[in-house]
């Protein structure tokens, strides 16, 4: 501080030195301006695809969007024009919801084990490696795995099979992201808690988890968003439904992603409109969940100061 302050004070005594950008040599000013422009251009380029996707989906999907579109049955005859994605909206909510219910508690508890108990033990290292491997398993493989172990075993395609497949996909993401978040909680907090006489489980529940909750929520949301958009495992495990079927254990089901795939591959105008509408609905649902989860996380998080 003093080193930089001294010349300034001296300068003030004489004439104030010019510290503005114009005082820099032309080459440096040029490089600075050039780099700023370049970085801004990169930013634009990066958000361009995002913007285009949103623009395209909204402009094509908004036309068919209506309350009826969100609630009406899917037309059996794909050639027909007009609304209906109710079955898929319900299916997406219950299947993804059930998958989240299965994967998030399990994943967070797994992460707590890894970071608080297992640490660098052989078992913990093994689980960590397996979770990393599982993250890379293609979703269709998970779908086929559930098809063989669940669908064939119970002899029916239903929503729960889809939820299981999605849960398998979400689990490794939840475990790894939650563990990273728990690792960021400073050890001082744990030691302080222990010094006050709290047991280990109490420390975890009241100190560690609340400190990391915001990050855990983000990680879990990422997993939910990924699961909601999965098509392949859904197609092989849940079958089909045209009317809303909130029962996960009886009868076929369908999701928005599966319906986008189904309808977009058809040549009929009505089906393609429905596919765009379904895409818009899916984006809106994911966005809505992100906002809700952020609000919840903000409520439970320890206040930073």
């Amino acid at each position: 501080m003093t080193a930089t302050a001294t010349p300034a004070r001296e300068g003030a005594a004489r004439s104030r030195p010019d510290l503005g950008k114009s005082a820099l040599p032309f080459r440096r000013r040029f490089a600075n301006r050039g780099m700023t422009v370049l970085i801004a251009a990169c930013l634009l380029l990066a958000i361009l695809p995002l913007g285009l996707v949103v623009y395209e989906v909204v402009s094509r999907g908004a036309g068919v969007m209506s309350l009826e579109f969100l609630t009406a049955d899917i037309p059996r005859n794909y050639r027909r024009e007009g609304p209906g994605m109710g079955a898929a909206v319900v299916g997406t909510l219950v299947i993804t919801g059930m998958a989240a219910l299965l994967a998030i508690p399990l994943g967070v508890m797994g992460a707590i084990y890894l970071n608080e108990y297992g640490k660098q033990s052989a078992l913990a290292r093994f689980i960590r490696t397996m979770a990393d491997v599982m993250t890379g398993v293609p979703s269709i493989v998970m779908g086929l795995f559930i098809y063989v172990t669940w669908v064939l075993a119970i002899g029916e395609k239903n929503g729960f099979g889809g939820a299981l497949a999605l849960a398998c996909l979400m689990l490794p993401i939840v475990i790894r992201s939650s563990e990273e978040m728990l690792r960021l909680v400073p050890d001082e907090l744990r030691q302080a808690s222990a010094a006050l006489g709290a047991r280990k489980w109490r420390t975890i529940v009241t100190v560690v988890l609340p400190s990391a909750i915001s990050g855990i929520t983000s990680g879990s949301l990422l997993a939910v968003a990924r699961a909601a958009g999965e098509t392949a495992p859904i197609i092989v495990t849940v079958g089909i439904a045209f009317a809303a079927n909130p029962d996960l254990f009886d009868g076929g089901n369908t999701t928005l992603a599966a319906q986008i795939y189904r309808n977009a591959s058809l040549t009929f105008a009505g089906a393609q409109d429905r596919a765009w509408g379904a895409a818009l609905t899916l984006i809106a649902i994911v966005l809505l969940f992100t906002i809700i989860a952020r609000l919840i996380a903000a409520r439970f998080a320890l206040k930073e100061r």
């Binding site: 059996r76 064939l152 029916e156 079958g239 089909i240 009317a243 009868g251 591959s265 040549t267």
Partner: protein, 354 residues
Amino acid sequence: MTVNVRGKVLPLLAASALALGVAACGGGDSADDAGNTGTSDLSGELTASGASFPDAYYQVAIEAYAEVAPEVVINYNSTGSGTGKKEFGEGLTDFAGTDSLVGDDDPVEPGSFLYVPTVAAPITVSYNLPGVEGLQLGQETLAQIFQGDIETWNDPAIAEANPDAELPDTPITIAHRSDGSGTTTNFTKFLDEATESWELGSGDVVEWPSDSQGGEKNTGVASIIQQTEGAIGYVDLADATGSELVFAAVENADGEFVMPSIAGTTAGLEGAEVAEDLSYNPLNAAGADAYPITAPTYILVRTSYEDPQTAELVKAFLTWLLTDGQALAEDEFFAPLPDSLAEQALAQLDKIQS
């Protein structure tokens, strides 16, 4: 799932249904309902998957059936014949739709199922060649096009049959099914039986020339044709018409060039010989009006169902499909069965044990 089968139905159906014992009170729990006059209130759920070829008709029929039996939910998943047979064999579905017969490769146990023919329809040879309509294709030419021997549209073999058409030198893109498909079976079976040049054999999956394009289900092939100039492919009439594709007149057994139509299909059906298991082959049937690539389509049902109520539901739906349901076929570009075959199919349902 509560299944409550009493006895219901449409006056038209009642007679035949009774005769077949279909209206029998399978559920039994409320069969003694005094006000019950032989009509049934069926309820329950049927799961089915299979052929995409008759999907358009089945979906319309299922929708119409919902007005007859409002408590019955039927979900037919258009997955292609191959997947349909597989899921049926694995016990995931109550019945399957298929355009091809069950082969040795299909995981369906012989003797555990019955064929129930439902409707038939022409397979169009659709193409995308702006400015060229009413193309006429000979059988040998068709075989050579689809195995890649003829590579451009202005090939002399095509030009010979179409003296008036201005054929461009656009390369031909073959569009075919990528999934296991009964449509592929019927189309290749036609080429295999009718022509000498066809060398690729026939089946649900065929080894197409390497520069061809595969699409999923009939609608997938339709979309390839729609988007690719110079493409040619085989698509069912309903999807080809729905996708506004242009299709060719194909040379039939009598040497006439016939456009695909319901009338041409019916003409083809009449010339077909029906086997004992009710499979039949209307391909390349004789008759000047017969469209040569006419495909049958079947529903596979089990000879016995674990749940007797499922058996009742399947019987009731198929009975309706083979009687009143046939009237819906033509509007969806499918040909209803000739009366004699429909009767045989109804009799086939009797063999389902419950």
